[in-house]
Symmetry: C2
Subunit: 544 residues, 2 copies
């Protein structure tokens, strides 16, 4: 029996129209310098400019399904691209400006991008690669002041000025592609995730839920997480849908300009990776700043140290909420909001878990043998996720080993409890198999990094004759500290199981990172294999 | 270009499973007497019982698409029916327990209900009609203590006890029917609206949005609005999806038991029609009650007098938010939340408008000639709405005159402004056409009812030789008051346009109401036509 409901598709043009017709006075603020000065445009203006952008792209030959890439910081132009490109039926392909050249070339060619919209300031990174990108027919430069010149490049503002507003958004099938983003896989080639209009719309609704970020008209959202990372966690679309101002930091992502932006423009919500927050904390300790506008900040993209959340809470009075997701999951899957049963004392215990699954997403854990394990908070297995904003394959790359009966295998392992709380203990490829038991490299890192003189630390598995594998800690100490490896080891005693205590340590200058800022353990493993790490042996029993 | 997203349908079983797996400890509290005592069940229990109910219905021969009706107050059984019946692929048909017998018989036969689940206390209303309902194969009685007996009636608890939990919910197409509800049309036969799984799921998400009701795990929702009225405004599904406790008042809807329930069980959110709130206000003035648990109450189903919102705010410290919707719209379309630009002084001006359109719904106004009018806050026309939770037809009754290019014609007229605020001034059929201009019967009623000695008032159009139509005010005065019609007229001066001031008044004991408690102006018009109203003539110029 069919319903009598209207068959109205969930489209990005619906998000655009709602922001335009209901929240025309809300604003997009783009930071233009390290002092935090901004340019401002109303949603009405952004919507009208999006109509012009669509008309301009149509004139350049962009049709439904064609890929239009962006190589942009978080700014007003990027938002216009977010809205116009999917709404016209084309596909927004956000390029990570921090990708290595070969990866960038690979994904532009794999996606067959026809147009790239690029910030003038980023042109030097892209220009040398254009020759190797034969599908790119047009380069559109946003802003001015580029230091290199590309023959035939078009100017964003000139294209818009030549068009009229009033583009008629097509009534698309909600399942067609709206946007795509490549994962920064640490093994093999990057893989493309293609979001649909439906998934984008539903994900935006999930981000606006009261139990999640609850973004609404009273908010001003500072999205530090780049718009080329998994939709900037859905904040641009959620904000446009609900009238929240969007505060766009562009490339001014260092602690000092961020603090200035927060002080001057008073965001209510912000989203960023833990390292950004950690840098900001250090800066704010020395430079008192009014943070009272912030009702919540979210952190994700890497495990969030409990200590960092406590410091933000206790020293700055700011509530930090940890979220979990992946490029493959749009990304919002879980948020570590304490359950109602939590006492004040327990609250931080809950908040320091990976996250609690949000409505619309299903999570389960799966053992090595493919059986589904109980949600008992104890059984350890690989997380698998399912839902309307979770990918079911990769673009032109089925990768069947990444899926299991229609569920996405996340590559993360850990436990799931009866309240839907996930606790990730490791990546499947990073876990240390020691004497038949598993040591979580991530948990060990968190405990090591809890030491006040440790800047960062990465743990990798190294071969061991007796135990098969044992952990090695690659450690970055504060400059000038007198703390030794032995001190850090002593600090670990009582914080982790006795048999986890690592015998192997190496002091390094910096943990190598991937293009999206995650620890690149692949590089560390290679350095170890090549004998480049100077390994210090410490007897764990000395620390006891 | 297709997306790579998983093709996961939006289903009621998804809402059920999320509540079960993530919020199993949240509770459903059912009020069992006028003192406000409750029985309690966890979501885990409700989910398990829903599995048993589905198994029992399957055993009774209910298959996909079959209609299962409920004739129940708001209680735990009704919630189990809300979850199990759609989740198993059957269609939940909520019957209004206040319907007139002929209407009830008509809609059960029109929907071809196969099973009716009925509260024992309501059986006397239903039993005499069963003979005229040939499609009904089984009657299932909830609770005990009925005063009539129906041969072959089954017991709800016995059916559940005979089954095992673990019913496997089918993977349905999200566009199939989940539930249906008939409108209480004041003209012609009732019309059936058939909600889909998709519309139900999306509507639930809309209800949980931070800018809307923001229902989440920290909430306990007292749904006074019946579950047989347009999904109880989506609160049962939204609550189960997000872990909010559900507080079910059954038939204990008078002010005294509601006050006891609020005091004892501390709901955070409540939803009801204005008359309920108005009764409660009167009661609370005489019986001080702790309302501090309430963060928000919503009112809808009829225009909410500004005075009522002010009284709740000023006297009780409770924020009342007006919403607008219809059975045809699931119902949430608009909520009167003040825009960010509102000053403290202006806030109530905004809140007393009909509502601001929520994301997912599109609203426009349309003139008599079918042209779309501007959203300028001035142009007056009929509201038309569009969206994935808005009906596009009626069950086996296309009613093409109620739709316009795929948009639902609401029958409400008013203005729409550039911020998406709707202001309904009247029903198309109630507006008074006086001398070529329109007088809003609703606005006139609101102003008359603002007089402290007026209990209620309904305004109808009556023929007038000179002006074509003029308003007649049917007035209910406080018992024992000395206020006269002339006093009320004098009160109106300055509150409405001079030419709106009515010459015709009638004092009545009560405004006749429809089965859902709305003013039944059809009856008033008939009484006037039959000469049953004693019309007092007042010269408006006397009041000036």
């Amino acid at each position: 029996m069919l319903s009598t409901m209207q068959d109205v598709p969930l489209l990005v043009s619906g998000i655009l129209r709602h922001g335009q017709q209901v929240y025309g006075e809300s604003e997009v603020l783009t930071v233009v310098n390290a002092e935090g000065d901004v340019t401002t445009a109303s949603f009405a203006t952004v919507a009208e400019r999006s109509e012009r952008l669509a008309a301009a792209l149509r004139r350049l030959g962009i049709g439904e399904g064609d890929r239009v890439a962006t190589f942009l910081w978080n700014n007003q132009t990027h938002l216009e691209a977010y809205l116009a490109i999917p709404a016209m039926g084309a596909v927004l392909h956000t390029l990570n400006v921090r990708l290595f050249p070969e990866q960038l070339t690979y994904i532009v060619n794999h996606a067959e991008d026809k147009v790239i919209i690029v910030d003038a300031s980023l042109l030097p990174l892209l220009a040398p690669l254009l020759e190797g990108m034969p599908t790119v027919e047009h380069l559109v430069v946003n802003g001015t002041g580029e230091t290199v010149e590309v023959a035939g490049a078009l100017r964003y503002e000139e294209l818009l000025a030549a068009e009229e507003p009033g583009f008629v958004w097509p009534e698309l099938d909600e399942r067609v592609a709206a946007a795509m983003c490549y994962t920064s896989g640490t093994t093999g080639n990057p893989k493309g995730v293609v979001y649909s209009h439906r998934s984008t719309y539903l994900h935006s609704m999930a981000v606006t839920a009261g139990g999640s970020l609850g973004i609404g008209e009273m908010d001003r959202v500072l999205s530090i997480v780049p718009m080329f990372h998994a939709n900037a966690w859905g904040t641009p679309y959620a904000g446009f849908m609900t009238g929240a101002d969007l505060l766009m930091p562009q490339q001014f992502l260092q602690a000092a300009p961020l603090a200035a932006v927060i002080r001057r423009w008073r965001p209510t919500v912000s989203a960023g990776v833990p390292t950004i927050w950690s840098d900001l904390l250090r800066y704010l300790r020395a430079n008192e700043t009014d943070l009272s506008s912030l009702r919540m900040i979210t952190a994700g993209g890497a495990a969030v140290p409990r200590q960092l959340m406590e410091q933000f809470q206790d020293e700055l009075g700011v509530r930090m909420v940890q979220g979990w997701g992946m490029t493959e999951t749009s990304p919002l899957c879980a948020l570590a909001v304490a359950p109602r049963q939590a006492s004040v004392e327990e609250e931080m215990d809950w908040r320091s878990r990976t996250g609690r699954v949000v409505p619309g997403v299903e999570v389960r854990i799966c053992g090595d043998d493919g059986t589904i394990l109980p949600n008992d908070g104890v059984s350890v297995g690989e997380f698998e996720v399912r839902g309307p904003w979770i990918t079911g394959s990769y673009y032109l790359d089925p990768a069947p080993d990444r899926f299991h009966d229609g569920w996405l295998r996340t590559g993360d392992i850990g436990t799931l409890d009866a309240r839907g709380f996930m606790q990730i203990s490791d990546r499947t490829k990073d876990v240390i198999k020691s004497g038949g038991e598993w040591i979580s490299s991530v948990e060990l890192e968190i405990e090591v990094m809890a030491h006040p003189d440790v800047v960062e630390a990465a743990v990798i598995a190294v071969p061991d004759e007796r135990w098969s594998e044992r952990p090695l800690v690659a450690l970055v100490l504060e400059e000038g500290t007198e703390t030794t490896v032995e001190d850090v080891m002593a600090f670990l005693v009582g914080r982790v199981s006795r048999w986890w205590l690592p015998e192997r340590w190496a002091i390094i200058d910096e943990v190598p990172k991937t293009s999206v800022g995650k620890f690149d353990k692949k590089v560390l493993r290679a350095r170890y294999a090549d004998g480049e790490l100077e390994v210090l042996r410490v007897d764990p029993s000395q620390g006891a």
